[in-house]
């Protein structure tokens, strides 16, 4: 993250005339007043300053003044004091508030005065490289001679020893710490012996599965530190979330002092909440967010404003890039004004885009959350969010991309038709006041804990008196002994297996192995992208159109085992979207409770995901122009889920036909899924949704054939009206992680509230028969049915809420 500290009392004057953000806001508000559902003004904030600490090493003092920093923001000074007093510290301030200095100052001081070493952890490699570059600038400014190195998968073998033995500051990522450093800690003995500071930046990114893994990696790190007699101080930085202290304490397993007062000045900021216009009033169907984002980005670029567009998916990045390139990059002889930036591009390509952004050579960048983090890309004026990112914190962080360096800025949140988006843009007050979001982690999740106990046992033998996290350790050790991994002798548990457990544990996803995308156009073989395992099935099936910088490639062949996709350039006028199926089987019920005329339960389920086919969708018109089949291995997992079903009698009484009941369940599930995501402050992708028979004979989805088709897992249709067919439709909301990551418990606890809120969401929606903002998209033919899908969904929710309500 780049350090921006204005010299005392003087605001930095921009090199070029101030871009007219205000003009654009006025023009948009005037022309599209109906689309703007909220306008928030965040006034400019004055800076609050402190002197440089008196005890600061004079060389460091000189280096800072040499870079124009003669005093600190108040939060930087507070962090200095807190760390000096050996307190674990978390600094909670927004983007571009100079948080880097909060940790660089004590770390550099410690390195200069006491030869203290520091370990920096960033969630991505790109951030690590930025960080080292920044420390080295400070180094150069003061001739400090502090050695900062990155250590990651790109560090050449012959340089590794130098990093281990000579680095004062080692910058790495959690994955490398987990797989490359801790299992080889003896090689790092010198480093650990002098380790005084551990810096965790972007703390809020460590939530959910990743965070739960991270907490365990930190347990292992502290264990190794104890072995070498080190007791380092943790310094962490977080974006604004509701519970940074709690998160930090869970992650580092210790009490933490939080610093929340931001002393950095900031320019005025406008946030527009934008709801696309209604194009079909009967169905309450709105224009797509995509089209609106594209229009807004065009307006901003035409007004001479540097613009960033955030999209939720890689696919959407490519589609939007294409639209904007069609508008601004028609002349191939001129340098591109629009660039895409997302995960999956090769590092060199990403570095190039970052450089072009800093050098003001690009007018517009379309990005996924890969740019949400603190990669330094210089200042931008306008930030367009294509769809609500799922969390308020994520929204603010992305919006923070605009208006760095004290300039006025504009953020526009364009709502999609998803329920969460619609809810958010209709409730602007959500963006005022304190952040409502709690980052949740479950460090003691059974499988994650077991994985890390395994890794920890490899690193140092456990003794009978040791603990690891809050769970009792011994049963795990005994389990591992039975698995012939550990051997218990003399009160210690020794690793005896011929394996390297960290390699089998990925911190970020379940399955191993990225796919590489190989361009075979013209007989050559060039690697053009990487795709992580979890999204490969959805994006690299044979026939898929895979896009890079809006250039379409068609997947010719997928080598699943070899993790390779062979593509060729194509001129297709369509893109492809995968269709997936889910099958769930209840393995055991942990607890259950009556729910209206039915029952709600939480327990363990077995889940199979199949990517069955894909749709071809034409650009601009978005019509379906074809289908294709996909033959890929299923993805399986055991996880926890909450489910709801109705007593057969209640079903019979309430619905004329089983088809109607099924439609009701599908609509209700849609609404309940989004409400559950909102209530648990998780992203919708963390929770999965399925509707199927309780005995798993069939599952239902809103597919290509309209509403409510029921199919066996092999794709055969099921005739539900056959009387011998068992009919027990069930709504499942499952934890989308093997073993569960602790989401199904809060969902179960909130089950009553969840139904109430889902009912509100559906009944208060202005559509007549159902729409993507309440029960999911419906076909126009559904309009003519006697009972609307919306009514049926409400009926299901009511039946689940109040016994006998449907008969009343």
């Amino acid at each position: 993250m780049s350090q921006v500290v204005a010299p005392a009392g003087s605001a930095r004057t921009p090199a070029h005339p101030e871009p007219d953000v205000g003009g654009l806001v006025r023009s948009l508000s005037k022309r599209f007043s109906k689309r703007v559902t909220g306008e928030l003004l965040i006034p400019a904030q004055q800076g609050s300053y402190s002197d440089l600490p008196r005890e600061l090493d004079p060389r460091l003092h000189q280096a800072l003044t040499g870079r124009g920093i003669s005093r600190l923001y108040s939060h930087q000074a507070a962090a200095w004091v807190s760390v000096r007093d050996n307190r674990h510290t978390v600094v909670v301030t927004p983007t571009a508030s100079g948080k880097t200095l909060c940790y660089n100052l004590p770390v550099l001081h410690g390195a200069l005065q006491n030869q203290h070493k520091a370990l920096y952890l960033f969630p991505t490699k790109a951030l690590s490289q930025d960080q080292v570059a920044e420390i080295n600038e400070l180094n150069a400014a003061g001739g400090l001679g502090v050695r900062a190195y990155t250590f990651d998968g790109d560090t050449p073998g012959d340089a590794r020893k130098a990093v281990r033995t000579r680095g004062d500051i080692v910058v790495t990522n959690p994955d490398m710490l987990h797989q490359g450093i801790l299992p080889h800690h003896t090689k790092w003995a010198q480093f650990f012996e002098s380790l005084k500071y551990i810096v965790i930046d972007e703390l809020h990114t460590y939530r959910g599965v990743f965070g739960s893994h991270m907490a365990n990696v930190m347990r292992r790190l502290r264990r190794v530190c104890r072995f070498y007699g080190a007791d380092p101080v943790f310094i962490s930085c977080s974006a604004t979330i509701a519970n940074p202290e709690e998160l930090a304490e869970l992650l580092i397993g210790n009490t933490v002092h939080a610093i929340r007062e931001n002393g950095a000045p900031s320019g005025p900021k406008t946030l527009l909440l934008w709801n696309p216009p209604v194009v079909n009033p009967d169905l309450d169907i709105r224009a797509s967010a995509r089209s609106q984002s594209s229009i807004l980005a065009r307006e901003a670029v035409k007004a001479g404003l540097k613009t960033i567009v955030f999209a939720q998916t890689r696919l959407m990045v490519e589609v939007l890039t294409k639209y904007l390139k069609d508008a601004f990059d028609r002349d191939p002889r001129r340098p591109a004004r629009v660039r895409a930036y997302r995960g999956g591009y090769l590092p060199t390509e990403r570095r190039e885009t970052e450089h072009q952004l800093r050098a003001d050579q690009v007018d517009c960048v379309v990005a996924t959350s890969a740019l949400e983090l603190g990669v330094d890309i210089g200042s931008l004026d306008v930030c367009v969010l294509n769809g609500y990112p799922g969390t308020i914190a994520g929204t603010w962080q992305r919006l923070g991309r605009a208006g760095r360096r004290n300039r006025p800025a504009l953020g526009i949140l364009v709502a999609s038709s998803l329920p969460l988006d619609q809810y958010i843009v209709r409730n602007p007050e959500f963006f005022l006041g304190a952040s409502p979001e709690h980052a949740r982690i479950a460090p003691d999740q059974l499988l994650i804990l077991l994985d890390h106990i395994r890794c920890a046992a490899f690193e140092l033998p456990f003794s009978d008196h040791d603990d690891f996290g809050s769970s009792a350790l011994r049963p795990f050790l005994e389990y591992l002994e039975q698995e012939q991994v550990l051997h218990h002798e003399g009160g210690r548990w020794h690793w005896v297996a011929d394996s390297y457990p960290a390699n089998a544990v990925s911190l970020r996803s379940v399955a191993e192995g990225n796919f590489v995308v190989i361009d075979t156009t013209g007989g050559q073989q060039n690697i053009i992208a990487e795709v992580d395992f979890s999204s490969a099935a959805m994006t690299l099936y044979e026939g898929a159109i895979y896009m890079i910088q809006a250039r379409p490639f068609q997947v010719e062949r997928l080598d699943w085992e070899g993790r390779k996709a062979f593509v060729t350039q194509t001129r297709a006028d369509y893109y492809t979207d995968a269709i997936d199926y889910t099958k769930l089987k209840v393995l055991s019920e942990f607890r259950a409770d009556p729910s209206g005329a039915g029952q709600s339960a939480q327990g363990e389920v077995h889940l199979v995901l199949r990517v069955a086919g894909y749709k071809k969708i034409r650009y601009y018109t978005h019509e379906n122009v074809g289908y294709g089949n996909i033959n890929l291995p299923d993805r399986e997992m055991h996880t926890t889920a909450v489910w709801w079903r109705l007593e057969p009698d209640a079903l019979c009484q309430a619905f004329e036909s089983r088809w109607q009941a099924l439609d009701g369940f599908l609509g209700a599930a849609y609404a309940m899924h989004f409400v559950a995501a909102l209530l648990t402050m998780s992203e919708p992708g963390d929770l999965g949704r399925a509707v199927g028979n309780s005995d798993a004979t069939w599952f239902s989805h809103v597919g290509t054939r309209g509403r409510g088709s029921a199919q066996r897992f092999n794709g055969d249709d099921v005739d539900l009206e056959q009387p011998e067919q068992i009919f027990a439709p069930t709504v499942f909301l499952y934890d989308n992680y093997p073993g569960g990551i602790g989401l199904s418990e809060p969902v179960y606890e909130m089950r009553a509230h969840l139904l109430t809120r889902a009912r509100e969401m559906v009944s208060e929606c202005r559509c007549t028969a159902g729409c993507p903002a309440c029960i999911g998209p419906i076909l126009s033919s559904d309009e003519e049915r006697t009972v609307s899908a919306k009514t049926l969904a409400l009926r299901v929710i009511d039946l689940l809420s109040v016994p006998g309500s449907a008969c009343a």
Partner: protein
């Protein structure tokens, strides 16, 4: 086992899992009682293992079975002697000092102890979780090779083992290993570090024979494993040898079930490794100095030139003159050129040029242009080269330059 299940179930309740209120409603698999352990197994897709049988055999019995001595808690020392005169395969056990000196360790000739060194571990994965359960050391002592092996019969023996190895290495001048630089030493140093003891492996020089074998034979043999090297270089074939990859199992079988048989085989295997090391040292030395036709001559000559100078490389290549492949012939020409023997170099290049070798033709073009200033001959070679490799810009440039030079000479 039942207490484990109970504990894990308690654990699940603490983390918000099952409280046991299972509804009576029928459903699939409802009768399965789900202990967390079962959940673990299901999620990990493993079956329950049979519980470990506790070791019933004592350390004394193991020491007996191995014909060794219990020298500390859970530490067994095995000692045996292997007469020099027995030789190994068709290789004699002699000349180790001269050999070590020739292979780059001149101090070894002056009398310090040369220690052959090989370990057995619980795995090849590396990292802190790999245990070195046996260390084999050997050095010449009078008429014999003295073989000394330390075996941990349990984890309690590790500090003693490390200490004993430290003492035995006090007089070592040179360690000789096969792949020891990247594996055995690294692993053993990790153990010293974990035991908070200083490593005795840093001080002596270290000669890893694998590097030499790779240099000479990597392009000749399917692999450079010791089991490949022994028949090829020593004429030695093991019979009923326990493969090294079984060593982890052998130790675990002892640890868990008190089985001694496989450990005896591991000790035997380790002893043969040590004897082979002692024989390999002179065997490799002989390849540098001798006439083995199977050696990769060009890479061997390159090493000789670096360590022993161009003359040594030239002598080596001359000795193998009738057996040199293309790259070795070019190496010979290059070496000859470096020491100023141009006529030898030109002879080789011309011979190769007749066979159409582009590199040799290019050398000739250079030689005639820059050394003899015979531009016409050089031009002829440059033209030949162009017909062979049309698209190389350097060739075209040379051709144009020589055309100019010829024109200005005759004009």
């Amino acid at each position: 086992m039942s207490s484990l299940g109970t504990r894990l179930r308690t654990l699940a309740q603490q983390s918000g899992g099952s409280t046991g209120s299972v509804s009576s409603e029928s459903g699939p698999d409802r009768d399965i009682s789900t202990s967390v352990q079962q959940r673990l197994r299901r999620s990990m897709r493993t079956r329950a293992h049979t519980p470990a049988v506790k070791a019933t055999t004592g350390n004394d019995a193991l020491a007996n079975a191995l014909d060794g001595t219990l020298v500390g808690p859970s530490l067994i020392r095995l000692e045996s002697r292997y007469p020099r005169i027995r030789g190994h395969g068709h290789q004699s056990l002699a000349g180790e000092r001269e050999a070590a000196a020739y292979l780059g360790h001149p101090h070894a000739s002056s009398g310090g102890r040369i220690v052959f060194f090989d370990t057995e571990t619980t795995g090849l994965a590396g990292g802190t979780g790999t245990v070195v359960f046996m260390v084999g050391l050997a050095w010449f002592d009078g008429p014999d090779l003295l073989l000394r092996q330390y075996l941990m019969s349990g984890f309690g023996g590790e500090p003693g083992l490390l200490q004993a190895v430290t003492e035995d290495l006090e007089q070592a001048e040179l360690l000789v290993s096969f792949n020891g630089k990247s594996f055995d030493v690294t692993q053993l140093e990790t153990r010293y570090r974990l035991a908070s003891l200083p490593s005795p492996l840093r001080r002596p020089e270290h000669l890893d024979l694998l590097f030499h074998v790779r240099r000479m034979f990597a392009r000749r043999w399917p692999n450079c494993r010791l089991s490949t090297v022994e028949p090829m270089l020593l004429g030695f074939q093991r019979h009923n040898d326990l493969p090294g990859s079984m060593a982890p199992t052998a130790w675990l079988n002892w640890l868990r079930m008190g089985r001694t048989d496989m450990l005896c085989e591991v000790a035997e295997h380790n002893r043969w490794d040590l004897v082979s090391l002692a024989a390999l040292l002179p065997a490799i030395d002989a390849r540098y100095r001798g006439t083995d036709a199977n050696v990769d001559h060009s890479r061997t000559a390159t090493w000789l030139a670096t360590v022993h100078g161009d003359r040594a490389a030239l002598e080596y290549l001359q000795r193998h003159r009738d057996n040199l492949d293309l790259s070795a012939q070019l190496e010979l020409a290059r070496t000859a050129r470096r020491i100023g023997d141009w006529s030898l170099a030109v002879d080789i290049w011309q011979e190769l040029a007749r066979q159409g070798d582009g590199h040799a033709i290019e050398q000739l073009a250079k030689y005639f242009e820059h050394r003899l200033h015979d531009y016409r001959t050089a031009l002829a070679w440059a033209e030949t080269l162009l017909t062979l490799e049309r698209d190389i810009e350097a060739h075209r440039r040379r051709h144009r330059r020589l055309l100019r030079k010829c024109a200005s000479c005759s004009g």
